[in-house]
Symmetry: C2
């Protein structure tokens, strides 16, 4: 049985403002919730149609109808959980760091988090205008990887200005990544979906890299930022 | 001004059955429509808020309100066009061919078509259960690349059984793709989102390839089929 205050809390967590205020985020679907329960994340409340057989205090059994009422999905999937947003850890500068400059699409961010997890990237740093990683659509796309990547929202221009790490940036007109010496340590910056890397940041980047185009040079559109990240992380990893 | 029969035709084209019956598909958005107009595709009708200055017969000026009525999008973008579905060309066996075994997600298929275009793949062959490439969500995700890739829906098991081309398949437990000799000619099979490549097809594949995982071996989920395709096409291309 759901209380009015629970319904209100869940609805508010759709917005970043209230996620920051309450320090909670929402996850849906039995599979993803079970994966998150195995991590270090702290569960606040679990609303489910079938029991998970966990601590009775945090579990609330609800009907399919109640789930439909609170779910952010068009086809709800048996359960919804509220977790505490974890504390951000210090950035580990001994490994490759991925940096996002205003990536706006939740699906792209979710895919990039999953890729960081696959390629063993520990730190993902995001400009303040990058979509919030606790956005329900991002969480849905990460498939649980969010628990294994440390995500920091920072002043990216300030970070890049002061870092001593080698800085790589993905550009349409950069050097062929297949012919470039890549390093184990450094920052790889990926730009916004429509505008790429911002001018201020671009001025600070010495290592401009590009994925060569093999199709018709005149007509082919650019690659999507998530697929470009996939290819570049593969290149950095295979060179180790 | 829209006629009742036009509204009915457009609504029907959301379904594969009617796309096949009428031989038409729908595209939305000024940018994508303009790109398609530059291709060999034949325009049937254009419904637009602002004139494109093209043949007056096929262009129908409509209001924003009328566009909202016919659009498949939540935020319609100035114009909607109906194009004729082009004839499929014979498969060119002299280049690398990408084959999809029951890829179901429209966004994934759209991304894969865009990747084929980027990497100069001329032919994409799909099993009959793969999502229809003229599905509006696929068209939206291809960003116009659909005009530059020849897409055939075939009996994939039959094709692979009879082909003399080398056949590569993407598996979780295949050989490290970074250490494998890849060829300019052949078929690369990518499997279904949940189940991978089907058992019958798997039995015919000699070259099993995998993208090594660099993250935590126990916990990381598999890669999404579109990002895996990005990495593998990059590997095939860089080896030329």
């Amino acid at each position: 049985m759901l209380s009015k205050s629970q319904i209100k809390l869940i609805a508010s967590l759709k917005q970043k403002k209230y996620r920051l205020k309450h320090g909670f985020f929402v996850v849906e679907g039995v599979k993803t919730i079970k994966e998150l329960l195995k991590s270090n994340l702290e569960l606040h409340m679990l609303f489910t149609v079938e029991t998970f057989n966990i601590n009775a205090k945090t579990e609330v059994l609800i009907t399919e109808r109640e789930l439909k009422q609170i779910s952010f999905l068009t086809t709800p999937n048996k359960a919804m959980a509220i977790f505490k947003i974890p504390k951000v850890k210090p950035i580990d500068k001994k490994n490759l760091i991925v940096a996002l400059d205003d990536v706006r699409d939740p699906g792209n961010l979710g895919t990039i988090i999953r890729l960081c997890d696959w390629f063993g990237i520990k730190d993902l740093i995001c400009s303040k205008a990058t979509v919030d990683c606790y956005n329900p659509k991002v969480i849905q796309a990460t498939m649980g990887s969010i628990t294994r990547v440390n995500i920091s929202y920072i002043d990216l221009l300030d970070f890049i200005t002061h870092t001593e790490l080698p800085v790589f940036g993905a550009f349409m007109n950069g050097e062929n990544v297949y012919q470039k010496r890549l390093l184990k340590k450094g920052v790889l910056i990926m730009g916004n979906e429509a505008n790429g890397i911002s001018k201020d940041l671009e001025a600070l980047i010495k290592e401009r890299i590009a994925i060569p185009r093999f199709g018709d040079l005149k007509t082919t559109e650019s690659l999507n930022v998530a697929t470009a990240t996939a290819i570049l992380l593969s290149e950095f990893s295979r060179s180790y």
